[in-house]
């Protein structure tokens, strides 16, 4: 009987497992997950959960879980993989023999490299992180958000709507610049200020002050920013230590081809952890849609590998990138992969209200940004998908 282990119980792991079953894997299916508890979805963690709103986080209902017929080894880490003996070693000392392995371990948030007080400094990745932050936010006070990426912007928005005094500290010129480009980021930066959030840009963090509990930040230019709670959203990286010595090729992530296959037969990777080959070289994508879609391709490739079939006849993973974010009562949608010099034009609406903008290169639309304009965004994205596919 074929045994497949899925390491990681986030969206990517669940999607891989669902695909394995749907595509006919009738052998053992073993989930190994570091986090205890049932699998959950992460987007609400920086939104509804912080606001104390109810959100349906479950990735599997009872029926879905029963249909997977999986064995659950949660609350334990994988510590090593031996590709020759095909064994996975667990943190509790157990050793499992596997035929196939899906690596869907995601990423861990980076934090500041300076000394940190024991409490009041947060990163946000897990449900436990989110509830700890929510509890701290309930105490009120001044909130400093370090990093103006999507997580930082959403946390700032949530904290502000709870009525707190919020400051976003961004090392670059403007929040969201890396994701959306300079012109779009500049337009959206106003929304922080219009919502009453203080925005400090071009500022690195030199130190975090406080004894047991955080009291503030010292910025690289010497400015002192008092804070009762600090949230650090400065990116994330995969934890690949358990793969050291396994022969599975890794760099910034687990290296895969366009089907999610690693260099080791019978081992695939998908989601945030996978640095996959694509039309523009190699990408490691930390967005929800990638964790939804890539595991489907990778699971199919794994089954083809295990059955001795030709994987290269299967569809590759090369989707039009798509992300969304909810901030300050607005819905942001962004699709495409624009180049740094692409022309940015607002084609509908006004920058301080709902609007739609396109990015163009040599007369071709390379990306679309929509704010509270789902209908127009959807139509422009449909055109972009056709270009992307051709």
């Amino acid at each position: 009987m074929t045994v497949i282990a899925v390491v990681g119980t986030g969206l990517a792991g669940i999607r891989a497992a669902e695909t394995l079953r749907a595509e006919g894997h009738d052998g053992r299916l073993i989930f190994i997950g570091e986090e205890p508890g049932r699998p959950y979805d992460r987007p609400p963690l920086s939104k509804q959960v912080l606001l104390g709103e109810t959100a349906d986080l479950a990735l599997l209902d009872e029926r879905g879980e029963a249909e997977l017929a999986a064995e659950w080894r949660t609350g334990t880490r994988v510590t090593a993989f031996d590709p020759h003996n095909r064994t996975v070693r667990l943190g509790d000392g157990d050793r499992l023999n596997v035929d196939g392995l899906v690596i869907a371990t995601g990423v861990r948030p980076r934090t500041l490299s300076c000394d940190l007080p024991e409490s009041g400094v947060h990163t946000l990745r897990t449900l436990a992180d989110a509830t700890a932050l929510r509890d701290d936010l309930a105490g009120g006070g001044r909130i400093a958000v370090v990093g103006g990426g999507f997580i930082g912007c959403e946390v700032a928005s949530a904290a502000r709507s709870l009525g707190h005094d919020v400051t976003v500290v961004e090392a670059g010129d403007t929040p969201l610049r890396a994701a959306l480009g300079e012109p779009a980021a500049r337009l959206l930066a106003r929304r922080h200020i219009d919502s009453g959030v203080h925005l400090v840009t071009g500022a690195g963090v030199h130190a975090v002050t406080g004894g047991r509990r955080v009291t503030g930040l010292v910025l690289a230019d010497g400015r002192v920013l008092p804070a009762d709670t600090v949230v650090v959203g400065i990116g994330a990286a995969p934890d690949l230590t358990w793969l050291a010595g396994s022969g599975v090729a890794c760099a910034d992530g687990v290296l895969t081809d366009q089907w999610g296959r690693t260099n080791v037969p019978g081992v695939v990777a998908a989601g945030d952890v996978a640095a996959y080959a694509c039309r523009t070289g190699r990408k490691r994508v930390e967005h929800w849609t990638n964790a939804r879609d890539m595991p489907v391709v990778a699971a199919r490739a794994l089954l083809a590998d295990l059955r001795g079939e030709d994987t290269t006849a299967l569809p590759v993973h090369d989707p039009l990138p798509y992300i969304w974010s909810d901030q300050y009562g607005s819905r942001l949608q962004f699709a495409g992969r624009p180049g740094p010099g692409d022309r940015f034009t607002v084609v509908e609406g006004e920058p301080d209200g709902p609007f739609v903008a396109v990015y163009e290169h040599s007369g071709l639309v390379t990306a679309v940004l929509g704010v509270d304009s789902p209908r127009s965004f959807t139509r422009l994205r449909a055109g972009l998908r056709r270009t992307w596919a051709s």
């Binding site: 969304w324 949608q333 789902p374």
Partner: protein, 105 residues
């Protein structure tokens, strides 16, 4: 039986949103050939209007998060939506598109 709109108002290839009094929520109508399909207009995941979405064959893609709902069954093809939207039986009476008040999930 609730009257929604004249059959002639439905244009092939587009989704028409109707919000009739007597029904708790807006509905989305699609005409394909001789048949008219009717489902809840609100995505089963978050508050998005499916009539703002993209129609391809028998599927409407939610404009926000890309789950595609089958007009015939209401079932989504992929997350984030996991529950179906309600599907309503449509009858055309004297040129008016009508549904029973209770759809089926």
């Amino acid at each position: 039986m609730i009257e929604l709109c004249p059959l002639g108002d439905l244009v092939a290839g587009t989704v028409t949103r109707v919000a009739p009094p007597g029904l708790p929520a807006a509905l989305a109508l699609v005409r394909i050939g001789d048949r008219v399909f009717c489902i809840d207009d609100t995505c089963s995941h978050e508050t998005a209007s499916l009539s703002d979405g993209w129609l391809a064959g028998y599927q409407i893609e939610c404009p926000l998060h890309e789950s595609r709902f089958d007009l015939r069954t209401g079932a989504p093809d992929c997350p984030p939506a996991r529950r179906p939207v309600r599907v309503y039986d449509v009858v055309v009476v004297n040129g008016m598109v009508c549904v029973e008040a209770e759809g089926t999930a």
